[in-house]
Symmetry: C2
Subunit: 120 residues, 2 copies
């Protein structure tokens, strides 16, 4: 059931795959979080102009925020004519968060199973 042969370095590498800085970078700004919350509770994809009404930031700034969130995999964008509709990529985001939580728990499980680690 457990895998006592994984070394600390291996586990750290496995965890590091889930600790993507650009995901947290995208989510570390409160205006971007407001946009995420807005899109999460919208019943359909929103245009940049629509999304921009939820935070007191100039449209150009909102455009930058949204594309940053898209690049981080948080949002999906679809171009329809001259509009761009953004929606939350719920599977990707919730999935990434759960995978990270699982990876953290897995580290603990292994750490508790084995006795000690020699210093780095």
């Amino acid at each position: 059931m457990n895998e006592p042969h994984t070394r600390p370095d291996d586990r750290r590498t496995a965890l590091a795959e889930h600790l993507r800085p650009e995901l947290f970078r995208a989510l570390c700004d409160s205006n971007r979080l407001t946009l995420v919350a807005r899109l999460a509770t919208a019943s359909r994809p929103l245009t940049v102009t629509e999304a921009s009404t939820c935070c007191g930031v100039h449209l150009s700034g909102v455009s930058r925020h949204l594309s940053m969130l898209r690049d981080a995999g948080v949002l999906k964008a679809t171009k329809q004519g001259r509009e761009v509709r953004y929606e939350l990529d719920c599977d990707a985001l919730a999935g990434a968060l759960r995978e990270l939580a699982d990876a953290l728990d897995a580290c603990r499980a292994v750490c508790c199973a084995q006795t000690e680690e020699t210093g780095t």
Copy 2:
């Protein structure tokens, strides 16, 4: 089974409680993530000096990084004599991540259940 009476604003407020900027702020720096990975794979709490060996940052910077992660609820600190031992607060971090994932899914579930939302 479902709760069709929750309004978008309410759901957004509920989600916003889990979208804590300071958590993501703490996790958005790659050196801090390296420290988190190091602590996650350690079999016991590490001192500031021990932790500082995993990233090429001056001890004083590591001290600041660790206390920032502690303030965000990612790490737990215990003072033992003149040493401070930091360990990952796995329950808190993994729990926060899963709660956020659940809150995101809950938004989607409600959004899909009801037909449309009037513009903000």
